[in-house]
Symmetry: C2
Subunit: 358 residues, 2 copies
DNA sequence: TTGAAAGCGCTAACAA
DNA sequence: TTGTTAGCGCTTTCAA
């Protein structure tokens, strides 16, 4: 660097410049000056001086002294996904509005990685943590609990602290009804022609499978097989699942339910290997919403989970967190989205940027 | 909390427990013990003790003392976008691999917000910052420079520090060629039937417009109008742009180039208002890649920018940052993606999670 | 090979 | 209404 970085001003520098003591400066600059009964005029003077000098608090020092950092953590499974990244978007806005700083990390659905990240965040003295979609939230709970860090589970519930989740049963029920009805427009549908792809051993999947089975039974009666194909949480593994199915049955099911947009991506990888004309009559449901997916060339019903509400509720709960014997699970109602629907999202709430003028 | 958080162990607690001094403990626990010529056996002993006691460094204290935090910042325009969120994904992985902690924030393309965020990050003593897609990177440069924080521009270049950008001219040239060729399969194409939607006054847009115009001229000759429609950076504004075009011409262009996936979302909002059959012959190019968009029911060519390479180069440069009179701009070649193509992404590099077993 | 001591920049009692 | 003082938990000379 050419102009070597000027050493940053401290409250002592300001103190030397204006004669007030460091503690007065501190109080003025951190907003506690009214309680400290500091004269309005001194406060103004100091604020002006600070501005002139380009003073910036050292938040590490403040955090060290006060044992809180102003950082609020969001632990996601992955960034690269519309559902989770919209959570990040809302989280960032809401945390900033509270005057804190968002710290968004992703653990790649790897439990070890998640543990390490949480440890790390705690080492930075985060003031709170939202844990999204962890497959072992209770282990993370122990870590947070030991460190006295308030934390809430989002999307996948735990048994040790409050959780905010999508109403997976309800969403799956609606989604299943929708795809069956759609398939029935073409021809009557049999119970064993409707499948679910996904279904791991986590809570969300259980509930979705339940909703799927109930809706199916109500509309089509009992089937002799469960019609559930396990995929993984990656596009590649999902592609394999579809390939395997296709190899065995020489076709895809009349209608099927896909557990998330990540799985849906796997379906596309599968489809890409064949001419588009081969799968003309697909009817698909996806438990996730993606604006582009909604316009795919087959009827695709989706569920949009209300990530704004989930984040808002999660942040609220961080403040009120009282440990209960049986921690509450808050269910947030998701929305069924018909094919060819372009919903608005978090980006629509951004301020109009300056280039609007032209 | 029921079991009130045990006060966290400090190096002094460990010191009391094992008789070694705080400075010895410190050296052992931060890895500098070999240089300090501490006996292997004492080191082992202390490490074991620390593990037993569940000791965790206080990174605020370490940071305060050593004037670095181990935090590396990534400032994005928005989270909720495949291009930027894939950057976040790669960034997180690479920063973690370097033993540091990623701090991803988004400024919503609002310059004030960006300034505040950068100030904030600096207050946390970040060790470096990648500035992605800022419309005024040079103003942010001043702030970082004053604080002595190494920083690199990504995606949109600045004049004050090195920048890593997509080769926008080349990408736009290829994309334009592709959509014109595609449209020509149906019938000959005139120069004024091919449009570009997007085009703000930033560097990337300029270069893309240039590539678009050159490719068009080469293939179709000069046209009497420029065929460029300004949209904003939001889906809503883009929808308006398409509506306005449609109102005026009663149709969309034979082939057109859309500046980003955010603009493409605006196109879908427009399309959603009409029956699908009305726009059967669209040929579209999008300067961004989205796996779902690739399977839309019209030929959609896309450009995938190499976010992995951009982030990797950016992080490399952070280490070597020497201010130059004319800071270098590194261009990263993007990839033309044919319709119906499902590329792999950052999620494919994640470790296989444990539930693979079933 | 280790320990003692000073101090990073801030906040919060306690005095004045 | 303001100043003095003692740390927060760590790193880093300097001594031993």
């Amino acid at each position: 660097m050419p102009s070597v970085a000027k050493k940053k001003a401290t409250i002592y520098d300001l103190s030397a410049l204006c004669g007030a003591s460091a503690s007065t400066i501190s109080a003025v600059l951190n907003g506690s000056w009214r309680e400290r009964r500091i004269k309005e005029s001194t406060a103004r003077k100091i604020q002006q001086l600070a501005a002139e000098q380009g003073y910036q608090v050292n938040l590490q020092a403040r955090g060290l002294r006060s044992a809180r950092s102003g950082l609020v953590g969001l632990l996601l499974p992955v960034h690269d996904n519309r559902y989770f990244s919209s959570m990040a978007q809302y989280f960032q806005a809401q945390v900033r509005a509270r005057g804190q700083c968002p710290l968004v990390v992703s653990g790649g659905r790897n439990h070890n990685e998640e543990r390490q990240l949480v440890q790390r965040l705690i080492s930075y003295a985060i003031d709170g943590l939202l844990i999204v979609g962890s497959t072992n939230p209770d282990a993370l709970h122990e870590i947070c609990e030991n460190a006295g860090v308030p934390h809430i589970n989002i999307d996948l519930p735990g048994n040790k602290t409050a959780s905010v989740i999508s109403d997976n049963y309800q969403g799956a029920y609606l989604l299943t009804q929708a795809i069956i009805k759609q398939a029935q427009y073409t021809a009557p549908v049999l119970a064993n022609e409707v499948y679910l792809f996904g279904g791991h051993d986590d809570h969300a999947s259980q509930e979705r499978i339940h909703g799927f089975l109930v809706a199916k039974k109500e509309m089509l009666g009992e089937s002799n097989t469960r019609c559930i194909c396990s995929t993984g949480y990656s596009p590649a593994m999902t592609e394999q699942a579809f390939s395997a199915f296709y190899k065995q049955y020489k076709q895809l099911p009349r209608a099927f339910f896909v557990n998330s947009s990540i799985n849906l991506e796997g379906l596309l990888r599968f489809l890409a290997q064949y001419p588009a004309s081969l799968f003309n009559n697909l009817v698909v449901g996806c438990y996730d919403y993606d604006p582009f997916a909604s316009f795919l060339p087959f009827p695709l019903f989706m569920i949009r989970q209300d990530s704004a509400a989930m984040i808002a509720r999660g942040l609220e709960l961080l403040d009120t967190q009282a440990t209960q014997l049986t921690p509450t699970i808050y269910r947030i109602t998701p929305q069924l989205v018909a094919p060819r629907t372009a919903l608005t999202g978090p980006l629509d709430e951004l301020q109009s940027p300056t280039f609007l003028k032209d």
